[in-house]
């Protein structure tokens, strides 16, 4: 091993350490920015080392240079533009697109290596190449479908047909079966079949998954991308890619598990089951029991004279783009001396932690954003719980056995002294069941669009207190 190789490998080790340190620094919001900078530094070092390999090897053709530089410029510009302009509500789509391109690039690395090596490829390399191509292919097409669903270009309702599972199973068998055969007898033609089967499998895997399950799907595809990149690292013998891919695989895996637990669903259930309805699922049905409604003035009186208010934002708030209005209301209340905090359920929003980003964008200080376990004991001390666009995660029925959401972790909103629910109608949440919170005698319903309701309440509080 030459001195050059030594230096390169050491730089890769430093880069990998930067990735680990960067992720470690994300354990508090105060250090997270530094974490991102450390990680960026590691990435720059790794890419510089790779560039040194390319130059040092001296085997790259002129066209190779042009192709490489043009690709980096085009992709880099697209990435920069989308990262600068994306709305925070559209964050899940962007993450999905980055998953797609990352998985796609990993698959392409495997495909290229396979075609170049031809029949001289060793059995072990074949295994990792095929895993790379299959996982990368599934991630690429699956993430594009997920992004399309999140953006509303593809219906977010589950799309399924009779025999869909049979088709999915068949595709998996084709991809894995041909893949296994390829290990014994390498063939570019058969590799194409594996690629196509993987791409179709990605589509047919995500199409039946409903909008509500998106946090799980994005996390899972993130884990897939990481794994695909690690496999590409195996193929070309690059440690930095193996380590980075494994880190991302672990991250995606943890988030997938957390999201699935918070939704009371098993990962298998989400992938195989294909239920979980679309956004517009509002089967109007009145729950058994009387519902009290409330006007802006009365809600404002309750809020203004409370000493402790907990705001429970849900997906409805993000959908109505009302994060700035809720922050404005909280600010008015805080200036009155009301203790305001936010209770964030793990699946509030379209991806893990999404609601926190939306509220941070609306200038809400992060110490006010409380996680479920932290805030639940505080509800009994709250004078008012203001629920905006959250449904199933507040339903006390989850504590009983025998309901669709039994066992799901919920926010103990019903422990508050009084509850105001802002909601457009009595429609159901994703679970499709009545919310017992709404017929609680302590609960008042405020039927309006979240944005308008919050603005009205804010001005009512202002008028009330001068």
């Amino acid at each position: 091993m030459s001195t050059f190789d030594w230096v390169i490998q050491l730089v890769y080790v430093v880069a990998a350490s930067c990735f680990v340190l960067g992720l470690h620094l994300m354990n508090t919001p105060a250090t997270a920015r530094r974490g991102n900078q450390v990680s960026t530094g590691g990435m720059v070092a790794a890419i510089a080392a790779t560039l040194a390999i390319v130059i040092h090897g001296g085997l790259i053709t002129g066209t190779g240079w042009i192709v490489m530089i043009a690709g980096v410029l085009v992709g880099g510009a697209a990435g920069l533009y989308s990262a600068r302009t994306v709305q925070m509500t559209a964050m899940p789509q962007l993450v999905s697109v980055f998953n797609a391109v990352g998985g796609g690039a990993a698959a392409l690395v495997g495909i290229h290596d396979y075609m170049r090596a031809g029949s001289s490829v060793s059995a072990t390399t074949s295994v990792t190449t095929l895993l790379d191509v299959i996982i990368g292919g599934v991630t690429f097409s699956g993430s594009i479908i997920a992004a399309g669903k999140l953006q509303g270009l593809i219906t977010s309702a589950p799309v399924t047909f009779r025999g869909a599972r049979v088709v999915n199973g068949l595709l998996a068998v084709i991809a894995v079966g041909f893949g296994a055969y390829l290990i014994a007898a390498p063939s570019a033609g058969l590799l194409t079949i594996v690629i196509v089967a993987s791409l179709i499998f990605g589509v047919s895997m995500v199409m039946p998954i409903g909008g509500a399950d998106m946090p799980v799907v994005i996390s899972l595809l993130n884990a897939f991308t990481g794994t695909a990149v690690a496999m590409a690292g195996f193929v070309i013998g690059n440690w930095a890619m193996i380590i980075a891919g494994a880190l991302v695989g672990a991250s995606g895996g943890i988030l997938t598990k957390l999201m699935a637990d918070a939704m009371n669903r098993s990962i298998r259930n989400i992938i195989v089951g294909g239920f979980g309805t679309g956004d517009a699922a509002a089967a109007v049905a009145g729950p058994g029991g009387s519902v009290q409604s409330i006007a802006a003035d009365d809600a404002a009186i309750q809020l203004a004279y409370a000493s402790k208010v907990i705001i429970v934002p849900g997906y409805g708030l993000a959908a109505a783009q009302a994060q700035h209005e809720v922050a404005a209301l909280a600010e008015v209340l805080e200036s009155r001396g009301v203790d305001v905090s936010y209770a964030i359920h793990p699946v509030a929003g379209r991806m893990p932690g999404h609601m926190n980003v939306l509220l941070a964008e609306a200038n809400v200080p992060y110490p006010l954003l409380k996680e479920m376990d932290e805030i639940n004991p505080e509800f009994s001390r709250a004078d008012v719980a203001l629920v905006v666009g959250a449904n199933d995660v507040t339903n006390p029925a989850a504590r009983r056995a025998g309901t669709a959401i039994s066992g799901m972790p919920i926010l103990d909103v019903d422990h508050a002294k009084s509850i105001i629910v802002v909601k457009r109608s009595m429609g159901h949440g994703y679970a499709g069941i009545d919310n017992e919170l709404y017929v609680d005698p302590k609960t008042s319903m405020y039927f309006a669009d979240a944005k308008k309701a919050l603005a009205d309440m804010t001005s009512a509080v202002k008028t009330l207190v001068g």
């Binding site: 992720l23 190779g64 964050m91 392409l108 990792t128 690059n238 000493s307």
Partner: protein
């Protein structure tokens, strides 16, 4: 010799997985979106792979694949880091101070205006005690 090399690679992969589980399970839910975005930028390391395949590309198909891989990976890595930084910049301990407003004075005013609320005052003072 390829088997021992593969074994080394597998060991690195498995140990990295454990490091990942260990480090990432300590990230608070508040930061899960930036975490996923940061993880996204880290898998942008696939750009290294994309650059390396450009070296061995010698025909039209190879060039097309190398171009696509480089473009995809560059989009991933650049976009990932920029958007993560953009998000993390929004996480503030205190609201951005408007011109002419002293945050300490606001906190003090809140304490006075909320005599009935011990928690509010306690929260306010503990928050003002921390540095932004």
């Amino acid at each position: 010799m390829s088997y021992p090399a593969l074994l080394v690679d597998v060991s690195i992969f498995v140990l990295s997985l454990w490091v990942g589980f260990e480090v990432i399970s300590k990230v608070p839910a508040t930061l899960h979106t930036p975490l996923m975005s940061a993880a996204n930028s880290i898998h942008g390391i696939v750009l290294a792979g994309a650059m390396l395949i450009a070296v061995t590309a010698h025909d039209a198909v190879g060039y097309v694949i190398a171009f696509l891989a480089a473009a995809f990976a560059a989009m991933n890595v650049v976009g990932g880091y920029v958007v993560t930084g953009r998000m993390l910049k929004m996480f503030r301990r205190r609201p951005a101070v408007q011109a002419g407003t002293n945050p300490e004075a606001v906190t003090a005013a809140r304490k006075v205006s909320a005599p009935g609320s011990g928690t509010a005052a306690a929260n306010g003072s503990s928050r003002s005690g921390q540095t932004a």
